[in-house]
Symmetry: D2
Subunit: 437 residues, 4 copies
Amino acid sequence: MRIHTILVTAVIGLGAIAGPCAAADLSGNWTAQVTRYGQPQYWRVILRAEGSKLSGTWNESTIAGTITGDRVEFSVKEPGGRQSGSFTGEVTATGISGQGKLAARGGGAQGELQPATLTMTRVPNPPAGGPKTWDFEPKDFYSFYSSSVPPALRVFPGDTVRTWTLDDNGIDSKLVRRSPGGNPQTGPFYVESALPGDTLVVKLNRVRLNRDSAQGAARVKANLLDPAAIAGMKYADRFDVEWKLDGGKGVARLAHPTERMKDYTVPVKPMLGCIGTAPPNGQTIRALDLGAFGGNMDYNQMVEGATLYLPVFQPGAMLFLGDGHAAMGDGEVTFSAVETSLDVEFTVDLVKGAATAGPRLENNEYLMAMGVAGSLMESVQIATSQMANWLKRDYRLSENEAAVVLGTVAKYDIAEMVDPHYNVVAKVPKSALASFK
Amino acid sequence: MRIHTILVTAVIGLGAIAGPCAAADLSGNWTAQVTRYGQPQYWRVILRAEGSKLSGTWNESTIAGTITGDRVEFSVKEPGGRQSGSFTGEVTATGISGQGKLAARGGGAQGELQPATLTMTRVPNPPAGGPKTWDFEPKDFYSFYSSSVPPALRVFPGDTVRTWTLDDNGIDSKLVRRSPGGNPQTGPFYVESALPGDTLVVKLNRVRLNRDSAQGAARVKANLLDPAAIAGMKYADRFDVEWKLDGGKGVARLAHPTERMKDYTVPVKPMLGCIGTAPPNGQTIRALDLGAFGGNMDYNQMVEGATLYLPVFQPGAMLFLGDGHAAMGDGEVTFSAVETSLDVEFTVDLVKGAATAGPRLENNEYLMAMGVAGSLMESVQIATSQMANWLKRDYRLSENEAAVVLGTVAKYDIAEMVDPHYNVVAKVPKSALASFK
Amino acid sequence: MRIHTILVTAVIGLGAIAGPCAAADLSGNWTAQVTRYGQPQYWRVILRAEGSKLSGTWNESTIAGTITGDRVEFSVKEPGGRQSGSFTGEVTATGISGQGKLAARGGGAQGELQPATLTMTRVPNPPAGGPKTWDFEPKDFYSFYSSSVPPALRVFPGDTVRTWTLDDNGIDSKLVRRSPGGNPQTGPFYVESALPGDTLVVKLNRVRLNRDSAQGAARVKANLLDPAAIAGMKYADRFDVEWKLDGGKGVARLAHPTERMKDYTVPVKPMLGCIGTAPPNGQTIRALDLGAFGGNMDYNQMVEGATLYLPVFQPGAMLFLGDGHAAMGDGEVTFSAVETSLDVEFTVDLVKGAATAGPRLENNEYLMAMGVAGSLMESVQIATSQMANWLKRDYRLSENEAAVVLGTVAKYDIAEMVDPHYNVVAKVPKSALASFK
Amino acid sequence: MRIHTILVTAVIGLGAIAGPCAAADLSGNWTAQVTRYGQPQYWRVILRAEGSKLSGTWNESTIAGTITGDRVEFSVKEPGGRQSGSFTGEVTATGISGQGKLAARGGGAQGELQPATLTMTRVPNPPAGGPKTWDFEPKDFYSFYSSSVPPALRVFPGDTVRTWTLDDNGIDSKLVRRSPGGNPQTGPFYVESALPGDTLVVKLNRVRLNRDSAQGAARVKANLLDPAAIAGMKYADRFDVEWKLDGGKGVARLAHPTERMKDYTVPVKPMLGCIGTAPPNGQTIRALDLGAFGGNMDYNQMVEGATLYLPVFQPGAMLFLGDGHAAMGDGEVTFSAVETSLDVEFTVDLVKGAATAGPRLENNEYLMAMGVAGSLMESVQIATSQMANWLKRDYRLSENEAAVVLGTVAKYDIAEMVDPHYNVVAKVPKSALASFK
C-alpha cells in the first residue's frame, strides 16, 4: 500500500504548478489528498485567501482558517454545522503539506475522527487556446485496469485523442505482436482534475478498421448451452476462423471457409470490446474482466458515434481501451468476436461531483444503462435500477412514471455472457422520451 | 388418472368415423392409443389389409399380422428387427379395441414389455373443398393449459380460425367481464391428426385491437430491481394506469395522466401474451405460467405476420390463446403490459413426426428460438442450444459452422422476466442465412 | 373448467350429511363453495339459526339473514362494515343451494361484486371415539399432484394412516410393477374440513424399508458440473447401480460393485422424496415437479420423526406421497437417489385459517423452511424470508431480532437441484431458540 | 506493468544467495523468471553442471547447454522432443541474467516462440535445524490480495507462524484502530520456493479469541430475501449489535440486548473470514472479494484444526489472512458476522508442481471443495466438479464411481452469499471414503 500511495502522490505532484507559493497565491482550485492508515482519499477544494483569513469549500463542506506566512491552519465544517476535520500545514514548492484529523467517510468507522496526513495540489488550468487534439502512439500495453501504472498521456476535459488499439491477442495493425495478449489496453489516459465521484464522458468520434484480417472462434462457450446437450456435441478438432475484412464492402468473410460457409458474410461494425477507468479501492483488475468501472463490456453498441459515461474511482480517471471487434453477435457466445486492431478517436469530458453508479451509453436512438454483475439476473437488476434512476434524475420522472416508461418501451440487450462478469443493458428509445423535454 | 383417460378416449372416439368396419376397410391411417398402468401413449399407424394379411407401420416400426373376421392380431417390430409388441383386437363401431404387450418407451423401464390395452381410431380425412375458415365465438374461457377440457373447436391442418380474446383480467371488447381473470384463454382448438411428437405451426394472420381502452401497471416488479434499492423506493399509493388506445394514430396514451406524462405516447403493436398447447404428462398448468408448450411467453414479437412453432404433447395439440397486449416493453417489467382484448386470425398446420423441443417463432427478418426456464441463465442455455439445432437441422450447418453464425450475428431478446418461468429468445437474422439456401 | 367443477362439487357432496334439513338444523359448521365464471372458491362458515333469524360468520366476515321455510337469504359484511355479498338459497338434501353476488377476492377485479352460485355443505363431524388409525392398501398410483382425481381415503384431522409407497419407477415391495414410473404417488388422502388457506400438518411416525433392493445412478447431472469440464468427462457406457439394502446393519452396498467399490457402504436413512398437497389454481402438476405445495422436494431430512407443514390449496388438502429413498446425498446430484419402496405411517392434523406460504419441516433439532423456486438464488430468498417469518410469528421476534438469529446460527441445506424446481432449506437450531420460549 | 515487474524481480533477488557464482556452482535448484512483452512467468529449474556441460530440467522439459566461463547457453526441449526455447546468459552476483526465446505457454499465442529476458535465481535452502516457529507482530495491514507489496515475512515450507489479525473494521485486540477497515489483512507471508502451479497447504493450529467484544449486524442483506417482501419490512433505525464474548463459557451475547434477546447466546467458534494468496494475472483484489485464490471465503469451518489448500499464483504464494469471526451462521446473511480480532497460529507447506484449481479444506470429518463464483449455481458447479476431481485423483475413483459417492453422501454448505462472489462448499465425509484407502 505504501508503494501505491507514493506513486499516486508523485503523479499528482507532477500535475501541480511548481514554484514558491506566496500566501496571496492560495486562492483557487485544489485537490486534497488525505491519507489515513496508509489509504488515500480525495476532496475537491476551493480556497479563498484574504490577508490572513482562509475560507473556502471542501466538497460540500466549508473551510475556515488562517494563513500565517507559510503556515496554514483550517477546520472543515459539514453543511449541518458539525466540525468534521482540522488541519495544519505548510506551503511547499508543490502545494500544501500537513497533518490533522478528518472524520471517516463511509465504512464501519463512519464519522470517527482519524489522524490524517494532508497533501494539497493545485488543479492545473487547461492551456490557453481551448481543447487540444492529441495523436498518441501507444508503446506500453497493459492487460489490466489499474491506477498503479503511470499515465501514458495527460489530457484535459474537452481534449480529443487519436490513437489505436491492439487486438485481444496483442497484435497490431501491421500484424506485429506487441503484447502476450489478454486484451492488452492502450492508455491509461489521465484526465486532469478528474476525482473519485465524478463521471467521465467519452465520445467515440471514430472507431475504424486498420487492417484487413481478424481472428475468431467456432465453439459456443459451454456455459451458454443446455448442459444436457454438451456431452453429445461434435465439434471438429480444428476449424479455421481467420477472417478477411473487406472495409470497402463493409463485410467480413472467412479467409479459408468450409464449402458451406464460402459465401457467408458478416456486416462489419467496428466496436471496442474494452474501455474502462481504473477500478475502485486501488484494485488492479485483469482486462478480461469488467465491472462498474467498465472494462471488457463487449457491447456491440460501443461503436463510432456513441457516448460513454464511466465512474471515476481514481484521480485522473485513468482511461484504458482495447479489444477491437470488427463485428460481434450479442453475448459474444463464442468467447471471441471477429477480433482485430482498430483506429480510435475519442473526446473526453467530465461531470464533476456527480457519479454514475456504472457504465452508461448513449447514441442517437437510445439511452443504455449497463448492469455488470456475477449473474444475468443481477445484471438485469442493476441495469433496470440504473435506467430508472437515469429517467428520474435527468427526465424528472417520479418512481411510478419511470416504471410506466420502462414497462412500455424498455428493451434489453445481452451484451456479454462469457467473461468473469455478465453485462446486460437496459435501453430506452429517445423517441419515447421526447415529450419530457 | 382413470377419469383423465376416459375423457381423452371419449374425445378421440368422437373424432373417429362411425359405422361398422368390415375387414376390407382396415387399410388407411390410424391413431393407436396404448394404455399401460392407466397412462395412455400414442402411435401413428398405417394399416394395409390384403385378404387376411395385415401389414403396415407403427411410427418407425413395422406391423405384421392377420385378419380373421372381426379379429385382428399383429406384432410390432422395431427397425432393428426386435419385436417390441404384439396385440390381439376386435374391430368395433369406432375402430379397433384390443389387448397386448408393448415395450416401454422412455423412462426407467425402457424396453420392458408391459401389458397394454389398445384403442385404435381412424384419422379423419379433411373435408373436400380444401382448408376452411372458421369464425369462432368463444364462450368458455379457461385460465389454464390442459387436455382435460373438451375442445372448443376441431379444425384440420390448413384451416384458418377468426376469433377474439379477453384481456388478462377477463374483460371482453365490450368491456364485459367474462372470466375472473388470470389470463383466460380462448380455445382449446383441436387440430385433427396432431399427435405427441409433431410440431404445430400457427401463422398469426391478424392480431388487432378491438376496443379503445387498456389497463397497465406502474411499479417495476421487485425481482428486477437492485435489491439494495428496493427499500428506498417511493411509489405513490395510487397511480392511474388506464390507457386510451388510438388505433388510428397507432398509439396508446394514459387516460388520466399526471402532468409530466400528459404527452407520453406508446406505439401500439398488438401482441398475444399467451399462446400454447396442452402441456405434457397430462398436466394442467395455470395460464400465468409458461413452458416448452408455450403459454404466457409474453414476447412482444408475437404479432401479426409471425409464425409460431409449438410442440404437440397431447392428441389434437389443443391450442389456447389469450392475454392481448396493445404494447409491451421487453421483459414485461411492470408485470402488466398495456392489457386489452384482441381480434385474432390464425392458420394452423402440422409438421408430423418432427418435434420442436420448445417454442420457435419466425418472421420476415428473424428466426427466433425461445428458452423457457426457471432462471435467465437456463433460458439462455435452452434458447442458444435450440437455435444451434435449428441452424444445424434446417440449414445443414456443422456444429462449428452453427457456432460461427451464432458468434457473429445472434441476438437475444429478454421476452419476459416476471412470470413463473423466464423467457429468453435467441434470434438469427435471415439475411445472414441467405447464403445457405 | 366445467368438468373440474363438477368433480369437486361431487366430492364435497359426498362428504355432506344426507337427509332433509329442517330450518332448525342450520346451526353449525359449513363449507361454502362459491362459483363465479366457472371457478370455485371456498369459505368456512358458521351458521346460527334462531327462529327465522340467521346469523353467523363467513371466514372473518359476518352473516345476517332470514330463514323462511326452506328458503334462506343472507348478506355478508366485511369486518370494516362493507357489504361484500348477498345470497338467496334453498335447503336441499345435501345442504344449501343458491345464487347471489360476492365481492371478488384477490386478482385484477378485487372487490368487484360478481354473480355467483352458492353450494353449502355441512362439515362432517369426526366419528366418536377419537382419532382413528387406517391401514390403507393403495391400488391406483398417480404420477401427478391434483385435485382432479377422487380421494383414495378420507380421514379426519388427528387420524393416522399406515400405508406404503412404490419406488420412483413404479415397483412395489414385492418387486412387482404397479405403474409406469415417474414418481407414482400413494393417495390422495382427503382430510375432512381442510380448506384453502389452512396448513396441513403431517407427522411422519414411521418411514421404513420394505424390501432389500434399490436402484441408483452413476452420473452427476450435467447442470451441476462446471460446463467447461463436461465435454471431457469419461463415463462408462454401463455402470451397474443396483443396491442391496441391509436393514439389519443399516447400510446399502452395490449389488454388483466394481473392484474399487466393493466395500463401499452408505448408511441407510429412509426418506420420502415426494410428499405434497393438490396444487393451487386447479393445476395438475407431474410428480417430478415441486412447488409451494411440496411434491418432489427430495430432502433427506424427510424422515421418520419429522413433522411437515404444507399449504392447503384445495378442499380436503389431497395429500400424496411416494418416491422412497433408502439414502441420498444433498442435492440428489445423480438425479436418482438409492430408490426403493417404503412402508410409511403418518398422522395428519390441521391449522385452520393459517396458511404456510410453503413447505416447512421440523424435527427435534431444527426448524426448516423450504424455498422451492426456479433457481438456487430464488430458493434461498424464499427460504430465508420464510424462516424470518417463522421466527417473527411463532417466536415473537422483531425484524432485527430475527435477522440477528439468522445471521448467527442459520444453516442452509441444498435439498435438491436436479428437478424442475430447486429446493433450498433454511434451518435454525431449536437450541438457539430456547431462550425465547 | 513495468513497475510491477521491477518489484517482483527485486523481491526474488533478495531471496537469492549472494556472492560470485563460479561455473562449478551452477548445479542445484533455480527459479527462472522469463519476461516477455513486460509480463513475467516462472519455471522451476534444476541445473547439473559437469565441466562445460550443462544439463537439467525446466519444469517437465529438459535443458541441454554449455558453460563457458561466466557465459551459459542452453536450449529447452519439451518431453515430446520439440525445442521450445533457447537462452544465452551470464552468471552474476545474484544468479543468471540472459536473453533468448521461449514458446508461449497458454493464451492465444500458444507455442509461438517469443523474445524473452531471463532472470534465474537460486532457490534458497531452508536453514539447518528444521522447521522454525515465527512470532510475527504485524505492522502494515492491506485491505487487498496482491503481489505488489513486499512480503511481511519470509518463511520456508514446514515453518509455523504465530500472529494475530484485526477485525474487519481495522480494530485490534486492544480496541485500537490500526486500519480504516475493509477486512485489513495480516501478511503477506512469502513461502520460499513456492511457484505458480504449486499448492500451498495451511494448517490452522490455533484460531482463538483475543478480546471480549465484537460487532455484528441486524439486517438480512436484501439480495437474500424474497424481493416482494423487502418493501414491507420494518427494521428499527438503530439496533445495537455489540457482542460480549465470554470465552470461558464459549458463548457470545448481545452487550445491550433488547428485552426479548437478553438471554440469547451464540456458541463461539472462532473462524477466519479471510485467508488467501496473491491472485493470478498480477491482479490486486480488494479484501472484501474472494476467488480461486481464496480471500473473503467466510466459511464457518475455517477454524482451528482445519487444513486449507490454496493455489499459488505468484512466487512465494504471498499468504494473507484476517477478518476474524467469533461465530457466524451459514451464508453470513447479515453481511457482518460476530466480528472480532483473533490470535492465529498456522503451519505452511507446499505441494510442488500440483495445482489445486481453487480452495479446498479438510478436517477430521470432511473433505471440502469450495466453489467461488458469481452466482450460487456456478459456485455449485465448480464445487461439485472440484470434489469429483479430488475423489478421482486422490482416491483413484473412476468418473462413475466418484458420481456414486457424490450422489449418496455428498453434502453442500452455503458458506457465503453477501460478498462480490458466492462460496458454496461440496463436502464428502471421510467415513464414506474409508474403504478406498
